[in-house]
């Protein structure tokens, strides 16, 4: 398959995951804020941080508030990281690989795009928000399912999956990082805040139900972090993601460099799991994971994509 097409499939996979997680995160976060007592340190800033948008937001708007943040994250066309733009780039990558993506897949993303153009600007400041965000999640799942069910699982599909997994690994680690940082910053961490927060974190990656089934205890910080970073069965958990990523890469020609990098991840995770959850070392450990994920991206680019 063409290097250029491989690259676009990879980005389609990344944007698909980005659209889904952004929609979930915002949706859960808004609900979570409703559950928290006033004056908690948890605020819009944390949501911006999870989505790596806090610097850009502060540069433009200064102090975050509900309306501004939601508009910025969901519907701001000038914010490269907004959900609206992520849907646009997802569609653009599918549009430019239409020769290999099943046409139902194109129609599916096209409908998601039309819906997001119509509804997201309204959703940013209205009651229809949850419905619209949930439609975004459904649209992504529909596309995933369509491709899984109707596209040959050859190289093109593997690049799509690889994009999925890398984006997901990046997002899951960032969610854990920001949650731990928030607790560490809290004046009086308190059990109630910790509980609510970690429940919210689990929900934001749709992990809460699966967590309850497998952990069978009330939600604690330690268990939640363990589950999110190392569970081998839950699709959004880093453990599962790493394994799937390695498996997808191994199906491609000339994969040695990339799979070697992926093989370093499990050991890094187990070191992190030994750490004290409130320590700066945890943040450093996760930083290390994120750097490694960046290296894996670099290696994929170097091995398979078109050189400028």
């Amino acid at each position: 398959m063409l290097s250029r097409v491989a690259e676009r499939m990879y980005w389609a996979g990344r944007y698909l995951e980005r659209v889904e997680t952004t929609a979930r995160l915002v949706s859960v976060y808004v609900r979570l804020l409703l559950d928290l007592p006033p004056n908690t340190t948890l605020g819009w800033r944390q949501l911006l941080r999870v989505l790596s948008s806090h610097h850009e937001f502060e540069r433009r708007h200064g102090e975050p508030n509900a309306a501004l943040v939601q508009h910025f994250l969901l519907a701001d066309e000038t914010n490269p990281g907004s959900l609206l733009n992520a849907v646009h780039w997802l569609r653009e990558n599918i549009r430019t690989t239409r020769d290999i993506v099943p046409s139902e897949g194109w129609e599916c993303i096209n409908e998601l795009y039309l819906m997001s153009r119509r509804e997201l600007p309204k959703a940013a400041d209205s009651g229809g928000r949850f419905e619209c965000l949930s439609d975004c999640v459904t649209g992504c799942q529909l596309l995933s399912g369509l491709l899984a069910g109707t596209m040959s699982h050859g190289d093109g599909y593997q690049f799509f999956r690889i994009g999925n997994y890398l984006e997901r690994a990046d997002m899951t680690t960032r969610v854990v990082d920001v949650a731990a940082a928030t607790l560490a910053e809290a004046q009086q961490p308190g059990q109630a805040l910790s509980n609510t927060l970690w429940m919210g974190v689990l929900k934001s990656v749709s992990a809460y139900q699966m967590y309850r089934q497998y952990v069978r205890r009330r939600v604690t910080a330690r268990d939640a972090v363990n589950f999110l970073l190392s569970d081998p069965h839950f699709p959004k958990a880093l453990g599962y993601t790493i394994e799937s990523l390695g498996e997808a890469l191994a199906r491609l020609p000339n994969h040695a460099d990339s799979t070697a990098l992926v093989a370093e991840l499990p050991e890094m995770v187990s070191v992190i799991l030994e750490l004290d959850l409130n320590s700066a070392a945890l943040h450093d450990g996760i930083d290390g994971l994120q750097l490694k994920l960046g290296q894996i991206h670099g290696s994929i680019e170097e091995t398979w994509f078109l050189k400028p």
Partner: protein, 485 residues
């Protein structure tokens, strides 16, 4: 029939309805189906079709204020009907025409017999900017240079179909022909049940077969690619669509290179892979920066030499555009007689060559009644429609012609035929043309019908989608052999 009683094509030939307000042969079912729909019913159907177009993502790109905007493809739901028997004659005429055109192209790049025998003036051929010295004495397979041709047909007031032009460079529109059919099937499934409508769906496999026939490498599994100028090209939708339906790779210039062994390769995730046939959708001028436009980033350096050595097939072949020239067009009937010893089955539109003194004089005197076109432009650019131009525009255009008469031809303003079209809940006549697509390799194949383009503005004759045109599904209805039974 209520909707037809007040339908008035104002003296133009209407494709569906006679001047007596009755359906033409083959159009009875359609006429009956639309006769009973009230404005709300018509609008509902039209909106269903527009929704389908939107959801299927059928778009074309327009450039506006420095931005690329994907617009929905404008589509009208009333199909244009052509009886199969009539179509069979047009089909034969199109095959005859493309065969002669290919003889001509092959001849002018080899022995130039048609010039030496005085049928076509040397100057007319050799001064054409589309005559490429780089193509002299190259011999593409089967002697065929133009493998994909889109020929524009128009029907005049007299009901006769004339050839308006042959598009031999990179004709576009065929994907819309296919998508129009898909939309009609979605909106009017029941109509198909009552009629024998010829299928158009075989086009992608016919195209693939034609391209595969050209492969220089023996074997059953040629690597066919579609070369697009890129994702911002106005026809990118079509390039991707055809590649998808053929199962061919869609490549950009940057994906290709001529390797040290002289063969054309594409960059894949597994290294370089040899390419056999390139269906190129970029113009000659951008094909090879080594030989043409040196700053082109769309093409591939060295691809011309690779093609000359017979290591790759290019469709259409470089230099085929020499027969796409509007002055050369006027000689096509002579070519048919010269190469095939046959009388042309399809007439040309009467045309004055401004390069000839008598004709130039006539054209300058009658400019306000004529349509004047430059020899080498497409898409309706750079032309003058006399009856729709102001006095000043006509006078200004005289100087333009006089500066370079060879570059212009003039034709009478045609009274293009009309087809009933939905306009704000009413059915009104709108002018149409027709672009069938002809494929030629070892075999020749013609689409059943083609792309009907419609000028959606009242009274307008301009059918280009970039200038307010839309399109319709085209149905070849009935059995071509009916008369023999």
């Amino acid at each position: 029939m209520p909707n037809w009683r007040k339908y008035d094509s104002q003296g133009f030939y209407d494709e569906l309805i006679t001047p007596e307000r009755t359906p033409r042969p083959g159009a009875e079912t359609i006429a009956a189906a639309f006769a009973q729909l009230d404005p709300a019913g018509l609008n509902a159907r039209q909106q269903a079709a527009e929704r389908a177009v939107l959801e299927m993502g059928i778009t074309f790109t327009v450039y506006s204020e420095g931005q690329n905007i994907d617009r929905s493809w404008p589509f009208d739901i009333i199909p244009r009907i052509i009886p199969a028997q009539e179509w069979a004659a047009i089909d034969r005429g199109l095959q005859q025409r493309l065969t002669a055109l290919n003889c001509f192209i092959d001849d002018v790049y080899h022995d130039q017999r048609i010039i030496n025998d005085g049928v076509v003036p040397a100057d007319t051929v050799l001064s054409s900017p589309d005559y490429l010295q780089q193509c002299r004495n190259v011999s593409p397979k089967y002697g065929v240079w133009a493998h994909i041709c889109g020929t524009d047909l128009v029907r005049d007031r007299d009901g006769i179909a004339y050839v308006l032009e042959d598009n031999l460079r990179v004709p576009s529109g065929v994907s819309y022909m296919l998508e129009n059919r898909a939309v009609t099937k979605r909106v009017f499934p029941s109509l198909f049940a009552d009629l024998e409508v010829a299928t158009v769906d075989s086009y992608p496999s016919d195209l693939f077969d034609t391209l595969a026939e050209l492969s220089p490498r023996p074997g059953d599994d040629p690597e066919v690619v579609v070369l697009t100028p890129g994702i911002y090209n106005s026809a990118y939708f079509e390039h991707a669509y055809l590649a998808q339906l053929m199962g061919a790779e869609l490549v950009e210039g940057g994906d290709l290179l001529v390797d040290s062994d002289g063969y054309l390769k594409m960059r894949t995730i597994d290294g370089l892979a040899q390419v056999d046939t390139v269906y190129r959708r970029i113009n000659d001028a951008f094909l090879d920066p080594d030989e043409f436009n040196s700053d082109s980033v769309l093409g591939v350096a060295g691809i011309m030499q690779c093609w000359r050595e017979g290591k790759v097939a290019l469709a259409n072949a470089p230099g085929a555009g020499v027969a796409d020239d509007k002055v050369i067009y006027t000689y096509v009937p002579d070519m048919i007689r010269y190469y095939l010893q046959q009388e042309p089955l399809l007439p040309n539109v009467p045309t004055w060559r401004c390069g000839e003194a008598d004709a130039l004089k006539y054209v300058l005197e009658h400019l306000a009644e004529l349509v004047v076109k430059p020899a080498n432009e497409s898409g309706g650019y750079g032309m003058l429609v006399g009856p729709h131009a102001t006095r000043a525009e006509v006078d200004a255009f005289k100087d333009v012609i006089k500066a370079n008469p060879r570059n212009y031809i003039a034709q009478p303003t045609l009274a293009l035929s009309t087809v009933p079209t939905i306009c704000d809940g009413a059915i009104e006549p709108r002018h149409v043309d027709l672009r069938p697509f002809i494929l030629q390799g070892d075999n020749t194949r013609v689409t059943a019908g083609g792309l009907t383009r419609v000028a959606l503005r009242k009274g307008s004759l301009v059918v280009n989608s970039s200038q307010g045109g839309g399109s319709k599904d085209t149905w070849i209805v009935g059995n071509a052999d009916a008369s023999n039974r």
